[in-house]
């Protein structure tokens, strides 16, 4: 299991979701991906995308207009 990071700053939804989706598709179950975004909509969309597709959001943070969402890849 490995940890990865993804910079999705300065892109508007749904691009952060698409970037997350494309990166997660390359990873293995149990891997984690920390996504950094500036569109606050990602706080809703990335968790919604995870719920639909069987992945888990294990942490979310927001400060100074920057949103960080940590996703654990499902099987």
């Amino acid at each position: 299991m490995s940890s990865y990071k993804l910079d999705a700053r300065n892109s508007l939804c749904p691009m952060p979701v698409i970037k997350t989706q494309n990166k997660v598709n390359e990873l293995h179950p149990g891997d984690t991906l920390e996504v950094t975004c500036t569109d606050p909509g990602a706080l809703n969309d990335i968790p919604a995308w995870c719920r639909i597709n069987g992945h888990e959001v294990i942490d979310t943070k927001e400060s100074d207009g920057v949103v960080v969402i940590v996703v654990r890849v499902g099987s």
Binding site: P14, I18, P40, L43, N44, D45, W49, I52, N53, G65
Partner: protein, 347 residues
């Protein structure tokens, strides 16, 4: 028990595609959704840049639909490939810059490709005969089938009974008797069906889900092409057309003036790509400059930008002009009176 047939549903985030997918799920079909991102999609988040819209739920309606349906959703970035559809539509534009028929053909072709790559059996859409003037006219539906190459693997569950049976119906994968015969622009049957399925709070954007159907947006796109003397765009170009006031005081430059804090923050992300005007002596908007400015132009642009600041009634406003190469100039100017800002400058 046999393996269920698999359908890929085009999910726009609107009610019709939600209902079409639900009808298939009810028939025991395995459905997964695909949603295309063209760059022109009307999304809650784009609006959420602006403060006044923050009360609206910040959600992606395609994801919301998939969650209501309990299906997977695959969002495909087609920004690059889609340019050719917008720039060279074989079937022309609709009332604005909307190439609806070419768009539909393109999306069905892409869905067909996805279907084949992922081992799915057929495609479903939420189309209703006669609902939209360009892409859903009865005489044009066969054009979509023919030019996309999908043949009879495209099922439109909401209006299937008005159309010839497709392969999924003829083969008995789906029960044609349980499909519907909706037609025309009346939305009441869809609303009644939504109620029957217990769907509430679904999206119903007035102009559909694409900015290209919007008159004002289309005007800004045409202006962009005219100013550049060629039909082309990058994603940033078309995103910026959704944000701020666009003012073109002269053919060779345009100002994008933020309208409030959210837009200010968004435009801030473009500082490295554009020259900027910032109001220093008062609270005011950030303005991006698209084009090369002479010193005289810079003064005029600063006067316009100052007009939208809290110093609009002041005798002098200080404006920092930063050129693309980083060179900064402080301009102390008189804000331009509203009467001098010509109507035709507003794009």
């Amino acid at each position: 028990m046999s393996t269920p047939r698999k359908a890929v549903a085009l999910i726009s985030g609107g009610l019709d595609s939600l209902l079409a997918a639900k009808l298939m799920i009810e028939q025991g079909i395995h459905v997964e959704g695909i949603n295309f991102y063209t760059g022109f999609c009307v999304e809650g988040h784009t609006h959420a840049i602006r403060k006044k819209d923050k009360k609206k739920p910040k959600r992606n309606n395609a994801l919301w639909s998939a969650e209501q349906l309990g299906i997977k959703l695959h969002i495909l970035d087609i920004i690059e490939e889609y340019k050719d559809v917008v720039i060279n539509p074989r079937h022309g534009y609709g009332a604005n810059m909307n190439p609806c028929l070419d768009c539909k053909i393109f999306m069905i072709s892409k869905a067909k490709q996805w279907m084949e790559e992922n081992g799915f059996d057929f495609i479903i859409t939420g189309e209703v005969v006669g609902q939209r003037p360009m892409s859903q006219r009865k005489d044009l539906l066969p054009v979509v089938v023919r030019e996309s190459g999908i043949d009879d693997l495209l099922l439109r569950p909401l209006c299937a009974q008005n159309l010839a049976p497709t392969l999924p119906e003829r083969e008995g994968w789906v029960d044609r008797d349980k499909l519907l015969g909706f037609s025309g622009r009346n939305r009441k049957p869809q609303m009644a069906l939504a109620k029957q399925f217990g769907f509430e709070d679904y999206a119903s954007p007035a102009g559909g889900c694409c900015f290209l159907t919007d008159e004002h947006y289309s005007r800004k796109l045409v202006d962009l092409w005219q100013a550049r003397n060629k039909k082309e765009y990058e994603l940033d170009d078309i995103m910026l057309l959704k944000v701020g006031r666009h003012i073109r005081p002269a053919p060779h430059y345009k100002l994008i003036v933020s309208r409030e804090d959210g837009e200010n923050k968004f435009l801030n992300g473009y500082r490295k790509q554009f020259a900027t005007l910032e109001i220093k002596s008062h609270n005011g908007p950030l303005t991006l400059v698209d084009g090369e400015l002479s010193d005289e132009d810079a003064k005029q642009a600063a006067r316009i930008a100052a007009r939208f600041s809290q110093g609009r009634e002041a005798e002098t406003v200080s404006v920092k002009f930063t050129r693309l190469n980083g060179e900064e100039t402080m301009l102390d100017i008189a804000p331009m009176p509203a009467s001098e800002i010509k109507k035709e400058w507003h794009v």
